[in-house]
């Protein structure tokens, strides 16, 4: 579990948004972090067909993590859209040992690819991709919460972007608001099992507000982990 200094001994970062991952690793990996697990969707046969991570990006993330001192690093992949494989990868990661902190990046404003424009909200491809994002996000959260509940502790950070609905196409908006609500109710249920769910939600940018950088997001999450009742992290969307 997170120790009294707010440090995680073991960390899992899961999702397709690999540009966030190095920042999160830099922020959360410490000398005391004994294990880092990366789970991401990679379509090795037809990368262009799915909004998953690219292999070359994954290699760069792995190199970065090792450079930061992650000696015990596991990389797990699943086929985009294959939720059974996703569930299995999560279960196997927990079977190796306890995991204190999990951060999901798939459903955030950073993670979700643009699924179309306001003018074409019902494009079938957009709907298919939104459905995939939504389904994977739910499965991810549910499986992580289940595994953490069985170890009696865990912090689960879910990146959602429910507060930017006005700027999103309908298909994406529907999926993200679903993820956010699910994470909220999951947090209510899971807390009695020792699992804390923190939502990182994007909000609209004001005139004087600077968009949240990935670095600021990582700092905000680390501060939320230390505070007992802070279960929502505000993110300013760009």
């Amino acid at each position: 579990m997170i120790d009294s200094m707010g440090n995680a001994r073991s960390l899992i970062i899961i999702g397709t948004q690999l540009n966030l991952t190095p920042v999160l690793i830099s922020k959360f990996i410490r000398a005391s972090t004994s294990r880092v697990v990366l789970i991401t969707a990679v379509d090795e046969t037809n990368p262009a067909a799915h909004p998953g991570a690219q292999l070359q990006d994954l290699d760069a993330v792995v190199a970065h993590a090792r450079g930061q001192g992650a000696t015990n690093l596991e990389v797990r992949k699943y086929q985009p859209g294959n939720v059974a494989e996703l569930e299995q990868q999560i279960s196997e990661a927990f079977a190796v040992g306890d995991i204190d902190l999990a951060i999901t990046t798939t459903t955030s404003q950073y993670a979700a690819p643009r699924l179309g424009s306001r003018e074409a909200p019902f494009d079938s491809l957009s709907i298919a991709k939104a459905t995939q994002t939504f389904t994977e996000g739910l499965v991810m959260l549910r499986q992580l919460a289940n595994c953490m509940a069985s170890q009696g502790s865990g912090h689960l950070v879910a990146l959602t972007d429910a507060e930017t609905l006005d700027d999103h196409p309908i298909a994406e908006a529907a999926s993200t608001v679903g993820i956010d609500s699910y994470a909220q109710s999951l947090g209510e249920t899971a807390k009695s099992h020792g699992v804390r769910v923190i939502r990182a939600r994007a909000s609209r940018v004001g005139l004087m507000q600077k968009p949240t950088s990935p670095q600021d997001l990582a700092i905000a999450i680390s501060e939320a982990l230390l505070k007992k009742r802070k279960n929502t992290v505000k993110v300013i969307a760009d």
């Binding site: 120790d3 009294s4 170890q151």
Partner: protein
């Protein structure tokens, strides 16, 4: 309790008195589904575990032997500052009814020994013994922890010519192993056999090793049931306390050494606001038990009454005290209220021994980020190192709480703690900053180089890799645990974190 006025036999807790365990009217599982999130004292987050309340030996045996998966750990009243009494995803068991009450089950005036139930709190034991004119001359800094917790963590109270560690008064103890077997472990007695056999046959347990492994063993080698302890006669429940202010760490350590070799009990409170050459200045307090004539007339009628009240801050304490700048001023101001020349005053036993009871009453003093206790012991010759630790923590901008130093002059049988004469330092840090992590990690490395150890009972952050370097008898302890806990039923968050 009337039978305690005569010499009564010293015995183990009674066997089951309520028939089979877990009957509908006598559930051993707490709450409807039995799962609760358990936090440590001063920690913002916790872990969920199934909570059992064992009311007799049969129930305890059932709980312990049925433990599977992530294991089980005995838990007292939740006054541990670290994660030693939590078992995320597993189970915890607390001792109730016949395993905790009455606190004192036997008293032998001739040998000056008492048998106490380990499920009872220090306050309960004190209350029952003091009224008869006896006192256990060791203790913990909180009166609300159970005696089992005090022994499992080898808790340290003020000590001088009397060793302040909880183990020092204990002659033998009765514990239940993870196989459900009740064994007696005696101090310094080796090659004895368990008092009760097991269905797997008798285990060749070295009684002295069992004692040493249990003391400070964090509840991972057995569930403590009762102990035979040495007691000393007292005529009042008050202490005569002599206090004097010091101006530097060197003077503090010098005064503490003098007090520790001449007084039964001594401790030093440090002013953490001091910097430079003044770092480590503080108040050295030495104490002895008050005689009846030391008390004013109006106190003499109830001289042996145990008073657990302690002077406390007002009910409503502003969390602004957690601001490092304000805390700094408060510490500084307090230092200047301490006497420059020795003064003597009377204090109730609880006020002198149980300083942590204040912390328990005022969660607002802990802060939303929780409290980190950095407790460690170092060889007595390494005393000046304490100043560098204080300076390093101060630079992180964290808020200091209580800082104290105790000197131990005797050898300890514990395998998971400092076994030689040492200085024990306790530094409470409220509202820890992120920078504190790296600083304390560096301090840990320096401790290893000095031959020091972090106190595991209040730790929740030590790197597992350092355990083998810090504790020279860790291999011996692990071997004993493997022998006694063959099914690996006893486990805790701490044992998982440190791979014990």
């Amino acid at each position: 309790m009337g039978n305690l006025d005569t010499n009564t036999p010293i015995d183990a807790p009674t066997e089951a008195t309520t028939g089979s365990a877990a009957t509908p009217t006598n559930k051993i599982v707490d709450l409807r589904d039995g799962v609760r999130v358990l936090r440590s004292w001063g920690q913002p987050s916790g872990t969920a575990a199934k909570v059992y309340k064992a009311r007799d030996l049969d129930q305890l045996r059932e709980v312990v032997t049925s433990s599977t998966g992530r294991g089980l750990i005995p838990r007292g009243h939740g006054h541990s500052l670290g994660d030693a009494a939590r078992c995320g995803g597993g189970s915890v068991v607390t001792l109730k009814r016949s395993l905790a009450n009455p606190a004192v089950t036997g008293l032998n005036w001739e040998t000056q020994r008492a048998t106490v139930r380990l499920g009872a709190t220090i306050a309960q034991i004190n209350e029952e013994l003091l009224v008869r004119g006896w006192f256990i001359p060791t203790g913990s800094t909180t009166s609300q922890s159970t005696f089992a917790s005090a022994l499992s963590t080898n808790a340290l109270g003020p000590g001088g010519t009397v060793d302040g560690h909880a183990h020092s008064s204990v002659q033998s103890l009765v514990a239940m192993t993870s196989n459900g077997e009740v064994v007696t472990w005696e101090r310094d007695r080796h090659k004895s056999q368990p008092s009760v056999g097991t269905q797997d046959g008798p285990i060749d347990i070295d009684s002295g090793s069992g004692f040493s492994a249990f003391i400070g063993g964090l509840g991972l080698v057995g569930v403590g049931l009762s102990a035979e302890v040495a007691i000393e006669p007292v005529t009042t429940s008050w202490m005569v306390v002599e206090s004097v202010r010091s101006t530097s760490l060197a003077e503090t350590l010098q005064l503490l050494e003098m007090a520790s070799t001449t007084s039964p009990y001594a401790t030093a409170l440090i002013d953490p606001s001091a910097t430079g050459l003044k770092t480590g200045r503080g108040l050295v307090r030495s104490a002895r038990h008050a005689e009846i004539e030391d008390l004013p007339d109006n106190r003499q009628a109830e001289a042996l009454k145990y008073d657990e009240r302690i002077p406390s801050p007002p009910k409503s304490v502003s969390s602004r005290l957690l601001d490092p700048r304000i805390a700094h001023r408060v510490h500084k101001l307090r230092y200047y209220t301490w006497p420059t020349t020795p003064i003597v005053d009377l204090q109730p036993i609880a006020e002198f021994f149980h300083l942590d009871d204040v912390t328990g009453k005022y969660p607002s003093l802990v802060g939303p980020l929780g409290m980190v206790r950095y407790a460690f012991s170092i060889p007595q010759a390494s005393g000046p190192h304490i100043a560098s630790v204080l300076d390093a923590i101060r630079e992180t901008g964290s808020t200091f709480g209580r800082v104290s130093i105790n000197q131990t002059n005797s050898f300890s049988p514990t395998m998971l703690g400092h076994s030689r004469p040492c200085l024990s330092v306790t530094i409470d840090v409220a509202n820890p900053t992120l920078a504190l992590t790296d600083v304390l990690n560096e301090c840990d490395q320096e401790l290893v180089a000095l031959g020091g150890q972090v106190a595991l009972d209040s730790d929740s952050r030590l790197d597992a890799a350092l355990v083998s370097e810090m504790f020279e008898k860790i291999t011996q302890w692990r071997e004993f645990k493997a022998q006694i806990d063959t099914h690996q039923r006893l486990a805790s968050d701490l044992s998982r974190r440190l791979a014990l």
